[in-house]
């Protein structure tokens, strides 16, 4: 009896496969080919958008939207080829999609979100680098000396994160010291002129030069200007180089760290001698940050 039951089930399966097998196989084949093609297309599409960085498009969001639209089309077409009713599928997919969108909009603010995107330069827990990839479990950071660091997202959410791309520009800070007897107005003028003349230095906020302090026989100057994030590091390095060379040409010296040593003639009654017949007082005149 069980053997006959098994045979009847086999016959029914054989009958069903005879009726729908070809459509099922075609639908599955279409789905697999479609998913592979979609994967390749999305990769190309993301690279295409990334190449147009000047446009400042939200590449991740655009790619995700295009991906889900094309995915729905591929799944729908595959199901129709398998023999399902097209109208029913479309209604079902529309209901599911709208429900998902509504839930995302309602609950988005309660989801923990990583405070950066792929390509941002960040400092996380003392690690400095560029975000190479993120997924549900960890973030891959590529450090500037070429190491790949994988940081668990739970650790990122609990730590202080510095995102250097959150604002469009960064402030360049160059501090230097000139001797007390040097031409202060001329030095300030040169610093400001060098910053203004650089195309990468933003005009707003305007470059500024401050006299920071007068200590240890020298005057501290602070040059401040702003540059785009992407150009920040190179601009700072080149401004420093140009300021040094320009000071050299204009005859303005940089203050050097120095010590003043006072030698007093030996006295019979003077206290504080070191046994050599001389008393020496040492004063550090340099101020190091």
């Amino acid at each position: 009896m069980p053997q006959e039951d098994l045979l009847s089930k086999y016959d029914r399966l054989k009958h069903l496969l005879g009726l729908y097998g070809q459509d099922l196989a075609q639908g599955m084949l279409l789905l697999v080919v479609g998913l592979i093609a979609l994967h390749g297309f999305i990769r190309w599409f993301r690279d295409f958008l990334n190449d147009r960085k000047g446009e400042q498009w939200p590449v991740g969001k655009i790619t995700a939207i295009v991906y889900f639209i094309l995915l729905e089309i591929i799944v729908n077409v595959s199901l129709v080829v398998m023999g399902l009713d097209a109208e029913t599928i479309v209604r079902f997919v529309v209901i599911i999609s709208l429900t998902a969108i509504a839930l995302i909009i309602l609950l988005q603010r309660y989801f923990p979100v990583l405070p950066f995107h792929v390509g941002h330069t960040v400092k996380i827990d003392g690690l400095f680098g560029k975000v190479a990839a993120t997924n549900l479990y960890h973030t891959q950071l590529k450090t500037f000396d070429g190491k790949a660091v994988f940081i668990p997202n739970t650790r990122i959410l609990k730590n202080v994160v510095v995102n250097y791309h959150h604002t469009p520009g960064r402030r360049i800070k160059i501090n230097l010291r000139i001797p007390y007897d040097e031409d202060l107005p001329k030095a300030k003028q040169i610093l400001e002129a060098v910053m203004i003349a650089d195309p990468r230095v933003l005009t707003s906020p305007r470059p500024q030069v401050w006299t920071l302090d007068i200590e240890g026989g020298s005057v501290g100057l602070g040059a401040r200007c702003w540059a785009d994030n992407a150009k920040y590091w190179l601009t700072q390095c080149e401004l420093t180089e140009k300021i040094k060379l320009r000071f050299d040409h204009e005859g303005i010296r940089m203050a050097l760290p120095r010590h003043q040593v006072f030698l007093h003639p030996p006295t019979d009654t003077a206290g504080g001698t070191d046994g050599s017949g001389l008393s020496v007082s040492l004063r550090e005149a340099a101020d190091e940050d």
Partner: protein, 108 residues
């Protein structure tokens, strides 16, 4: 005068901010000198005079033409210009530098 007008006057008259830099030179092609530059005119200029002067210096180092016996591709009169085509002072020497200077007659 409003403060914004004063600042605009200072920006226009004190220190000009170039929009970019190019390395300009004369290149020997088919027995004639042709003016050329890098990056080319229809492309974005370099945004750093330091980079432009380094490029000019390296181009000069890459070929040392023997005056009087020029060959195809030799470069002379290598210098850096701004977006308006005006020569700029070298940030190193604070002078209008030119590598491999050579008198080039127009069309010659």
């Amino acid at each position: 005068m409003k403060i914004n007008d004063a600042l605009a006057r200072i920006d226009a008259g004190w220190v000009r901010k170039p929009k970019g830099f190019r390395v300009r030179f004369d290149v020997y092609v088919d027995g004639r000198w042709q003016a050329d530059c890098s990056p080319e005119e229809n492309t974005a200029p370099l945004d750093s005079d330091v980079t432009a002067w380094r490029l000019a210096w390296k181009l000069a180092q890459a070929g040392r033409p023997d005056t009087g016996r020029f060959k195809e591709g030799d470069l002379v009169n290598i210098t850096v210009v701004d977006d308006q085509g005006d020569r700029v002072r070298s940030y190193v020497t604070n002078a209008f530098e030119m590598y491999h200077p050579h008198e080039v007659k127009p069309g010659g």
